[in-house]
């Protein structure tokens, strides 16, 4: 299966990003493919380079980066939602890219399943 994943909420405040990550990880372990992970609404905040969570808890941004690097995942941050929330190239974490909503629609078309995680 090819999964498209939509993450609607930012790190820590909601469990959405955690659940999405665990789903993606499990899917990859089962040999499925991830077409794209698209970050929308406050989900764009999962891509901030400036995150500094406490050492004794998970680092959500880094976790996405590592998963993406290990499996060549496409992590896309919606440009309009990002601009609203102050996420730009200059503070974007490595491994994420900023692009348009068309990337989400394309995922809906090209993936076998579009799985949404939100509030």
């Amino acid at each position: 299966m090819k999964f498209g994943i939509l993450v609607n909420e930012g790190p820590y405040t909601h469990q959405a990003s955690d659940t999405a990550y665990q789903f993606a990880k499990a899917a990859l372990e089962k040999g499925h493919k991830i077409h794209r992970v698209f970050f929308y609404h406050d989900g764009v905040n999962n891509s901030t380079r400036l995150t500094e969570p406490p050492q004794d808890d998970r680092n959500i941004v880094q976790r996405w980066q590592k998963l993406a690097a290990d499996h060549k995942l496409d992590l896309v941050v919606c440009v309009a939602a990002a601009l609203r929330r102050g996420i730009k190239e200059e503070n974007l974490a490595e491994g994420f890219r900023i692009s348009g909503l068309g990337q989400l629609v394309e995922s809906g078309i090209q993936a076998d399943r579009l799985v949404t995680f939100g509030d």
Partner: protein
């Protein structure tokens, strides 16, 4: 890449495939951004020639009521955009009857032409989709 397609080159892999997309709107406008940002997806999606429907149920029905004057809260009034959907060939707007009635609303309160359907019909509509977008 064009702005109208939100950063996508319409390539072979996408063109030709037509899926049934349902955008589910269940949240009221202005209290959160979901109503506005989901509408932004719908507008971009129009460029992809898919079979698009919009469903308004629960508090989502409030998104399309007439008479939204947002000057006092100094937030952009995006409700006129629903009227522009027709120009994008997005004409399948469904409103759940039970949600409307529970909120004391009728079709006359809505700013755009919709098809009012029952919960049972909405269930069928949802079951027949290929892609369901929730916000």
């Amino acid at each position: 890449m064009t702005e109208s397609t939100g950063g996508i080159d319409m390539d072979e892999e996408t063109s030709g495939v037509v899926k049934k997309f349902l955008y589910v709107n269940r949240k009221a406008p202005y209290g959160t951004i979901y109503a506005l940002e989901s509408l932004e997806v719908v507008l971009i999606a129009a460029a992809f020639d898919q079979d698009v429907s919009l469903a308004f149920l629960d508090d989502g029905v409030y998104q399309i009521v007439k008479g939204q004057h947002t000057k006092g809260i100094d937030v952009k009034n995006f409700s006129p955009t629903f009227r522009a959907l027709e120009g994008y060939d997005i004409e399948k707007l469904y409103v759940e009857k039970e949600s409307m009635e529970a909120r004391g609303l009728t079709e006359a309160d809505l700013l755009v032409e919709v098809k009012v359907i029952s919960t049972a019909e909405m269930t069928e509509l949802m079951a027949g989709q290929d892609v369901v977008m929730s916000f």
